[in-house]
């Protein structure tokens, strides 16, 4: 019994406090999105809601451009995921299967790219896209997001492809398959769990991205993160609308992350743990 009590006080109670810190801000956002304005504008704010309503969610989707913004974000995130995987898979396959001169240098270069300050990349990209007339297009955002996430996607996929025996590609090629066919029809299906995890990572990263989207988007293409931030600027802050938007944006990212978590976290932290 003292053992049980010790575990309760020494472990479970502090874990509960840390979890509360991790989760309550999220819960508070969601809760704020379903309370009427009369409660949200009453200072000091009551901790417990007295009345629940979906008015903010309905107003957000009916009266503002938010539905359109959600669609733009979805298009960009899906595009960036497809393009990112299409670029990363062959590269990962090459890193895994071929030993060539400069291989290590290239892998290091992909690592270093990841560490350049974002400002260093986005300022000239803005000037470039502006000169090319590509501002405010899906293409600019998709290309940018796919490339920013490329180093990590390649790094993670390479470790998945490494786990698939080379003998399988060789057997397929003896049976008359080309390299490309071996990669697409033998390695790819086996690496599917890894591909899905990397795909989810690419999707979340693009869906969540703000700075590049802020610079690249205008009247035609505006993602949800940029749109939400713009709502703040409009005369008086409408917290109910903002929290409703925040909940709608955070929900898919959170669910996808929890879904892919075990595979992703292994990859996201693998580099640190190995080092």
């Amino acid at each position: 019994m003292p053992n049980r009590l010790r575990r309760l006080l020494g472990t479970e109670f502090p874990v509960a406090i840390i979890l509360a810190f991790a989760l309550l801000p999220w819960v508070w956002m969601m809760l704020s999105s379903i309370r009427p304005d009369s409660e949200l504008t009453h200072s000091p704010i009551a901790l417990w809601p007295h009345q629940l309503t979906l008015i903010h969610h309905i107003e957000l989707l009916r009266r503002t451009s938010f539905a359109q913004n959600l669609r733009d974000s979805l298009i960009v995130a899906c595009g960036a995921t497809s393009l990112g995987l299409a670029l990363a898979l062959p590269a990962a396959y090459a890193f895994s299967r071929f030993r060539f001169r400069g291989r290590n240098l290239l892998r290091t270069q992909f690592l270093v790219i990841n560490m350049f300050p974002v400002v260093m990349l986005i300022l000239p990209l803005f000037v470039l896209m502006r000169d090319l007339g590509l501002l405010d297009t899906y293409f600019a955002l998709i290309a940018g997001h796919a490339t920013f996430t490329l180093p990590f996607a390649i790094w993670l996929l390479t470790s998945y492809v490494d786990g698939i025996p080379q003998e399988l590609d060789q057997a397929a090629m003896i049976d008359g398959a080309t390299r490309m066919q071996a990669m697409l029809f033998v390695v790819l299906p086996l690496a599917m769990p890894g591909v899905v995890a990397v795909g989810i990572y690419l999707f979340i990263t693009s869906w969540n991205e703000y700075l590049f989207a802020l610079m690249m988007t205008g009247r035609n293409v505006r993602t949800v993160t940029v749109a939400l931030q713009l709502f703040i600027g409009e005369n008086q802050i409408q917290w109910g609308l903002l929290m409703a938007g925040g909940t709608l944006v955070a929900l898919p990212a959170t669910i996808l992350f929890l879904f892919a978590q075990r595979r992703l976290v292994g990859g996201l932290t693998g580099g640190a743990v190995k080092g």
Partner: protein
């Protein structure tokens, strides 16, 4: 097979880096695209003689040290706790990562809302518990704005340390602890002589990675305070971004970006050197 990825990286990453260097040596005002005269190092001279640069550098140091040390402390505590066994450990390990999944914009919104002077729930709780004597306009006054944004970034980043260090803890063989227990080591002795040395490599890599990330990140501050009030929360990358984006001065902004990169180079080189050594 590498070619497409290399080409994409070259066009969208290496080219911009070189481009930034080029921009930083020219006088580039956005609404004057035809005229971009070469000005040598004058953008750099201008940046270094500007007191705002030094102020931003100081803010950056405060931001990186404050954010990384708090994230690390809380993440380390969480990892040690989550490594012990209790009934709902699996659920706890899964849920602790939730802040990590959210976009910076949403995190900024949530914390701005919770730290609000009139309607913020944290002020309300603080006053009710007697921790605060009155509501504090956290993000609206220079003396507390940095604390406010650091609190938000701590929330965003501690799961990274929790998960990374937890993976490191699980890699330490259990026999070491059993042997130490037989030799009569107490809890502190085990922590000091087994956990810390076993985790040192992971800690160093995680700290380096996070320092680079926090030093580069600017979206959370941009959303919460825009660098203000005044320049109270303006870090170096934010200064570079605002100079170019709001000020329209891309030459000057690029020079600031290059300076930031040079300052970070030491950390990046250490990280790459460590990761290539194995």
């Amino acid at each position: 097979m590498l070619a497409p990825a290399l080409a994409a990286a070259a066009v969208l990453v290496l080219l911009p880096v070189l481009d930034t260097l080029w921009l930083s040596l020219h006088d580039v005002i956005l609404y004057r695209p035809r005229l971009r005269p070469f000005v040598g190092l004058s953008n750099y001279m201008h940046a270094l003689s500007d007191p705002v640069f030094w102020e931003s550098l100081g803010n950056s140091l405060l931001w990186v040290i404050g954010a990384v040390s708090l994230q690390f402390a809380l993440g380390f505590a969480a990892a040690l706790l989550l490594n012990r066994s209790f009934a709902w450990r699996g659920v706890a390990r899964a849920l602790v990562v939730v802040p990590w999944a959210l976009p910076s914009v949403i995190i900024g919104l949530i914390w701005t809302w919770m730290l609000d002077f009139n309607l913020g729930v944290l002020n309300n709780i603080g006053v009710q518990l007697g921790i605060l004597s009155h509501s504090v306009p956290w993000l609206a006054q220079p003396s507390t704005a940095m604390a406010g944004v650091i609190l938000a970034v701590m929330w965003q980043g501690f799961p990274f340390f929790a998960v990374t260090l937890l993976a490191g803890l699980q890699a330490i063989p259990g026999e070491l602890y059993e042997a130490a227990a037989i030799d009569g080591a107490g809890a502190w002795g085990k922590f000091r002589h087994i956990t810390l040395p076993g985790l040192a490599g992971v800690i160093a890599t995680a700290l380096l990675l996070r320092m680079i990330w926090v030093a580069n990140s600017l979206d959370l501050i941009l959303v919460m305070t825009g660098g203000g009030p005044g320049t109270a929360t303006q870090t170096l990358p934010l200064h570079a971004f605002l100079t170019a984006w709001s000020g329209g001065n891309y030459g000057h902004g690029s020079a600031l970006a290059v300076l930031l990169t040079l300052l970070l180079l030491g950390v990046v080189v250490t990280y790459v050197w460590r990761s290539r050594r194995e």
